[in-house]
Symmetry: C2
Subunit: 205 residues, 2 copies
């Protein structure tokens, strides 16, 4: 039986297609990209593109899917349960070591992440990543973080607030050139979340 995925031509073709996609998103935004743009930049025949993907949406979906699966796999591999992650961090409420791991992955795939999370990127991917980050970092917290009604505000708004805020910090990190290490970013994110933005700014004791 043949192993299709091992064919060097396939690997080369797919790599140049995906590289061209990232380039073009940064250049003109996913919106304005045509299949012709991609194949021209990837230096392949347009027919070849359709042999691998249905259209540009299919290409995008498969790239995003791969990223999400990777993150899921890495998370489960390193931290089979959130409880274990929390114990690693000696009694903080947020799994710091897990956050470091995720930032390390973002760092490796920064080219793609920067493209799809940037202003010309894909809003639906942002939504999916937001939900993933929320669930991974806080959603399964054994302290049952979000209840229907929380202490001061409805739980759904707390979840949206924190989920979106994480994405914002990631975007800022990617756009400003990833000057901080993944470790430092995890510390920053955890600090703001645990203490609240006003305290972190020094405006509140």
């Amino acid at each position: 039986m043949r192993n299709n995925n091992a064919d060097l031509r396939v690997i080369r073709t797919k790599e140049s297609i995906r590289h061209a996609l990232v380039e073009l998103i940064n250049e003109k935004g996913f919106e304005a990209i045509t299949v012709k743009d991609i194949t021209t930049m990837a230096k392949i025949n347009r027919g070849t593109f359709y042999a691998h993907y249905q259209d540009k949406f299919d290409l995008m979906a498969k790239c995003e899917e791969e990223i999400m699966l990777d993150m899921s796999r890495i998370t489960k591999q390193n931290f089979p349960s959130v409880i274990a992650a929390l114990e690693t961090d000696s009694k903080t409420l947020t799994p710091l070591s897990l956050t470091v791991t995720l930032f390390e992955y973002l760092n490796i795939n920064s080219e793609f992440m920067k493209a799809v999370l940037g202003p010309k990127g894909d809003l639906s991917f942002q939504t999916r990543l937001k939900e993933f980050m929320w669930e991974t970092l806080y959603g399964n917290n054994p302290n049952a973080f979000i209840k229907e009604e929380n202490f001061l505000v409805p739980g759904q708004y707390l979840a949206s607030y924190m989920g979106t805020a994480i994405i914002g910090v990631i975007q800022q990190w990617l756009e400003s050139g990833r000057k901080e290490s993944p470790q430092e970013m995890a510390r920053i994110l955890t600090t703001i979340t645990v203490n609240g933005p006003y305290f972190a700014a020094g405006l509140k004791k």
Copy 2:
């Protein structure tokens, strides 16, 4: 000299174009919309569309620009300075009354806002709105909220965190059917921001 903008035909045409745009974004996402779709739904000739807008991107940009100008105008009208807004609220750190005003505007234009901030919306608009909200609500705070280096974390990450978090709360409100009043939403947003998410959830004293 004639005033072209007053021509009832122009007003009617533009209104039906913009209404069709909102409908279509909710239906299939901005991405997939063709100019033909818009003109068919708006029941106008395709040539008429090109008499008013260069293409669908130009249409979108002009709609967004109008919203941003509106919000800017309303803000300046009601609160010429952030200091005045803060004084209205008897010594909180966040301008609650200003937040209410902004949520009231979002409420009136909820159809459009829901479309462009939803999963099928426009990421670049989200970025612009984020920056506007940040600057309006916190950026000009006389307490000089964000410095180059803050107490615990770099200021740029605090700004991104809070700016994006606001957008997240707004998105959640629009998507879940705007059950809360603008007043209630302003209270929720202010509460989380001032106290921090962990406190608001009841996990921290």
